[in-house]
């Protein structure tokens, strides 16, 4: 695995350095580097696990790198004059230095540095295929973005440096087994996401980036504490040793609980959601990256990786409640929003909640469902963010109420976005197979499954109304012209939309390779009849298009306006009133603000979530 592991970790960092100064050459270098990373990722997942023990020199190198990252974060804490960032990072600095001074014997011993099991392979594939696709999209997008912003001096060097550095850090994190490597990858992703969120440098960006850094430093402190308990007290230096340790011991459970809380912060679960919601001030590729294959997935990845460690414990049961609760509340909050990116953000947090719930349910079916959800959510969400970014550039707004009639103006992006939405919530697509599996697995825990049932119904509301808006017409049957899209923008959209559909057909294969990996147990996801329903869907689509084409020749009319004449035009809806005057009218959706008021519901549910997390830590006490 030697060269390909370097291809996914070290190469992105080198590419980042080159891209920082590449100037106009970036147009070619970004797609080229993206291709190299994707090929390395694909070759890495075909390989067997190779034991790799750390040498003293290597471990010292990792330690110094981690120190450097934390000191850099500390520097930002001082620069932003934020006490919390300073405290959390100083504490981390103190703990790891103390651990190295007292527990020096642990350095470089005990177990493999890296892990390459099916879970790590799934994450590697997502990072090295979806990540580079987003970077390619960014090449064309950032030019337009900076033009629209009227930027005099391009900041793209910094931007692409951070994007690729981020990918390297993520790859390191998901292949890391030794706590030192986990911590290094963890801190690199915290650092890069902080810098990327603050990319625009305006007041709002700096504020939101600061929030992100506070919350993720808090999570980092929990990670460091958990690792400290494991390394210094239990004398185990890798995750694989920790998850096989004796569950009866309080210290083992405490270490696991601390690491799980760290995972919850990065996965933006309640009450830690605010940093991810604020992250959308950054240019779209950043949101696409944070929400799909990186960052938040690191959080659920860690929780899933630890799952065998807390199987059949009370901690696991409470974790299921934490995830289910986040799924329910954030699905409701998504309904109250009309800002497209905010809807997507809440939906991300909700789906991560579902994955956390699966980790808590902790049965083979639940863990399989979690992997399904990770894969299909990454694909669909990356696609949706890229679509909304493209729409925003052209439309000037990300409000879903302004997207009426989008299919007439931007048919290509509208159809891509439609595919993104449909694959999120309707069968026969993989997300729903994952959701059904999650529900079946949780059925033995009524309190959890009730929350999932209600949350699932809530998600219908915001997807359906949004999909209905973009696939609506204002002109009737006028000719629709294809919009002009840059190849580097349309290519990632086409590939992601295609992947969302094709991967759903491969669920049997994914189950064998990514979930069980050994032997051949028939996939329990087969009962969701993905193949047959796909067949019916294909027939229905063909029949629908046939009838629609036939209908084109039939009599067309304007919508019913209570006797008045509908005014055919684009953008505004109006009818012709007395004296031939046009009168504009407006239609809009329900947001159920009286029930799901964002501020009030957030406050209340944050308090409940803090209580649940406190209970999760409380149940491990003897």
């Amino acid at each position: 695995m030697g060269i390909s592991i370097l291809g996914v970790t070290l190469f992105p960092v080198l590419a980042a350095l080159v891209l920082a100064v590449a100037g106009k050459l970036r147009k070619f270098l970004v797609p080229l580097s993206a291709l190299i990373i994707a090929v390395s990722g694909l070759s890495l997942v075909t390989q067997q696990e190779l034991p790799l023990a750390g040498t003293t020199a290597l471990m010292i190198g990792i330690f110094i790198a981690e120190l450097a990252v934390i000191i850099f974060l500390l520097y930002w804490g001082l620069k932003l004059k934020n006490l919390w960032i300073i405290i959390f990072n100083l504490a981390q600095l103190g703990i790891i230095t103390y651990a190295k001074l007292t527990g020096g014997a642990v350095v470089g011993t005990g177990g493999d540095l890296l892990v390459l099991d099916p879970l790590a392979k799934v994450l590697i594939l997502l990072i090295t295929v979806i990540g580079p696709l987003i970077c390619v999209f960014a090449v064309a997008y950032m030019d337009e973005y900076e033009k629209a912003k009227g930027l005099e001096k391009s900041k793209q060097g910094r931007f692409f440096f951070l994007l690729f550095f981020f990918l390297g850090g993520m790859s390191l994190l998901v292949t890391a087994n030794h706590f030192s490597l986990v911590a290094l990858g963890w801190e690199i992703t915290t650092l890069c996401s902080f810098m990327l969120i603050g990319h625009n440098g305006d007041e709002q960006s700096v504020k939101n980036a600061t929030t992100a850094l506070i919350i993720n430093s808090f999570g980092g402190l929990f990670l460091t504490l958990g690792a400290f308990l494991a390394e210094d007290i239990l004398k185990v230096s890798t995750i694989s040793q920790l998850v096989t340790a004796d569950k009866g011991e309080t210290v083992v459970m405490a270490a696991l609980a601390l690491l799980v809380v760290a995972g919850l912060t990065k996965a933006a679960q309640l009450p830690f959601q605010s940093w991810l919601l604020g992250a959308m001030v950054a240019p779209t590729p950043v949101s696409a990256l944070l929400h799909s294959s990186t960052m938040v997935k690191a959080g659920v990845y860690l929780i899933l990786r630890l799952a065998p460690g807390y199987q059949d414990t009370m901690l696991s049961n409470v974790l299921a409640l934490v995830g289910g609760f986040t799924f329910l509340i954030t699905s409701a909050l998504a309904i109250s929003q009309s800002n497209g990116k905010r809807i997507l953000a809440y939906s991300t947090i909700a789906n991560l909640g579902l994955i956390v719930m699966c980790a808590g349910v902790n049965t083979p079916l639940a863990l399989g469902a979690a992997i399904f959800l990770i894969i299909f959510h990454a694909v669909s969400k990356a696609l949706l963010f890229l679509c909304v970014g493209t729409i925003e550039l052209k439309n000037g707004s990300k409000d879903i109420e302004t997207m009426h009639g989008l299919v007439e103006k931007m048919p290509f992006v509208a159809v891509a976005a439609m595919i993104g939405m449909i694959t999120m919530f309707l069968p026969p697509f993989g997300m729903v197979a994952g959701k059904l599996g999650a529900m079946e697995a949780a059925a033995k825990m009524p309190a959890v499954v009730v929350m999932v049932a209600f949350g699932s119904a809530l998600t219908l509301v915001f997807w359906l109304r949004w999909a209905g808006s973009i696939m609506s017409t204002t002109k009737g049957l006028g000719e629709i012209k294809q919009e002009k899209t840059h190849l580097l923008i349309s290519l990632p959209l086409v590939l992601l939309a295609g992947a969302g559909i094709v991967l759903s057909l491969l669920t049997d294969y994914i189950y064998q390779e990514a979930v069980i990996a050994v032997g051949s147990i028939a996939s329990p996801f087969r009962q969701y009849m993905i193949g047959p329903i796909f067949g019916v869907l294909a027939v229905a689509m063909v029949a629908g298009m046939f009838f629609a084409a036939k209908a084109k020749r039939q009599k067309t009319t304007t919508p019913y306006m209570c006797g008045e004449t509908y005014l055919i035009q684009q953008d505004t809806l109006a009818f012709v009133a007395a004296m031939d005057k046009p009168v504009a009218y407006k239609t809009s959706h329900y947001y159920l603000g009286h029930w799901f008021a964002e501020e009030r519901l957030t406050t209340v549910s944050n308090i409940i979530a803090i209580g649940l997390i406190a209970a999760m830590i409380g149940v491990i006490l003897p």
């Binding site: 309707l426 009524p446 109304r465 329903i533 019913y560």
Partner: protein, 287 residues
């Protein structure tokens, strides 16, 4: 294999007949409750033929596309039901059909159809979680989400689920009123207004395409009554009696209640529905 094909064909042919006849019975009984004579039993079929032969008028082609998707998936959810498949899956497949209907209504700029569609979304929000929880309750008793195994469980134990899950049954019947477009929940489109031009979600549909929606609705009515039958699946006779009783009850309810607001609908289904279902499940745990 042959048997499965026959079952599928039988469902596709017989279900709309049953749905149409039920609608005919519905219209006669409703008329008698209102002191009218009512139309002949086959009137729904005559209406359908009339619609089918009318000139097609559309505002855009997307409407037509979504109407076809709605019909196909209404058929598919019933077929999956008859084949005894996973109940959770059936509920989600049903969502594809209802979702397509909503998208079809949202695709036109008509304010009537848009309001209807948004109300339909709220109706889905009201019944969807209760149906999912019903499925979970069936699972907790029988140990399976597969309908064939749910039926087998009752045949083996000889005890109908109605006796084990009476409150869940009550809740499910209550929310199925929404799916049947009956008062007090006929918020997005009323069954009574089947001849009106402005009928909420179907406002912009006319002629043959309205006929497609009508047929799809018949499939859904049969599925709804099928879900009722699941609660006494160990005896054909009792299942039929149960279905007949629920059907009559829905008609009575339809004729003695007035349409209520969506807020009331959501609050009553969510709070009361969930409360009863949870009470029933809790009882199962304790007993």
């Amino acid at each position: 294999m042959m048997e499965v094909v026959l079952i599928i064909l039988g469902t596709i042919l017989l279900a709309p007949l049953a749905g149409g006849l039920l609608t005919g019975v519905d219209r006669i009984i409703t008329a008698r409750m209102q002191g009218r004579q009512g139309p002949p039993l086959l009137q729904p079929f005559y209406d359908l033929i009339k619609l089918w032969r009318k000139e097609a008028q559309i505002t855009n082609t997307l409407q037509v596309f979504y109407a076809v998707i709605y019909l196909v998936f209404a058929v598919l959810s019933l077929v999956l039901f008859v084949l005894g498949q996973n109940l959770l899956l059936i509920i989600f497949v049903l969502t594809i059909g209802s979702g397509a209907m909503v998208l079809g209504a949202l695709s036109t700029p008509s304010p009537y159809s848009q309001i209807g569609a948004n109300r339909e979304i709220l109706q889905m929000l009201a019944y969807d979680p209760i149906l999912l929880i019903t499925a979970v309750a069936l699972y907790l008793v029988t140990g399976s989400f597969k309908l064939s195994e749910v039926v087998a469980y009752q045949t083996a134990s000889g005890q109908p689920l109605l006796f084990v899950l009476p409150l869940v049954f009550l809740t499910m019947t209550y929310v199925l009123t929404i799916k049947m477009r009956k008062s007090p929940f006929d918020i997005s489109a009323s069954h009574h207004a089947h001849q009106e031009i402005v009928r909420g979600i179907t406002t912009e549909y006319s002629g043959p395409y309205l006929a497609l929606l009508e047929i799809a609705h018949w499939f859904e009515v049969v599925l709804v009554l099928g879900l009722v039958a699941i609660f006494w699946a160990n005896s054909w006779l009792m299942a039929l009696i149960l279905v007949g009783a629920v059907f009559l009850l829905e008609l009575l309810l339809d004729n003695i209640t007035a349409r209520l607001t969506y807020r009331w609908m959501l609050q009553s289904t969510w709070v009361v529905g969930m409360g009863l279902a949870v009470l029933n499940i809790a009882y199962l745990y304790l007993a």
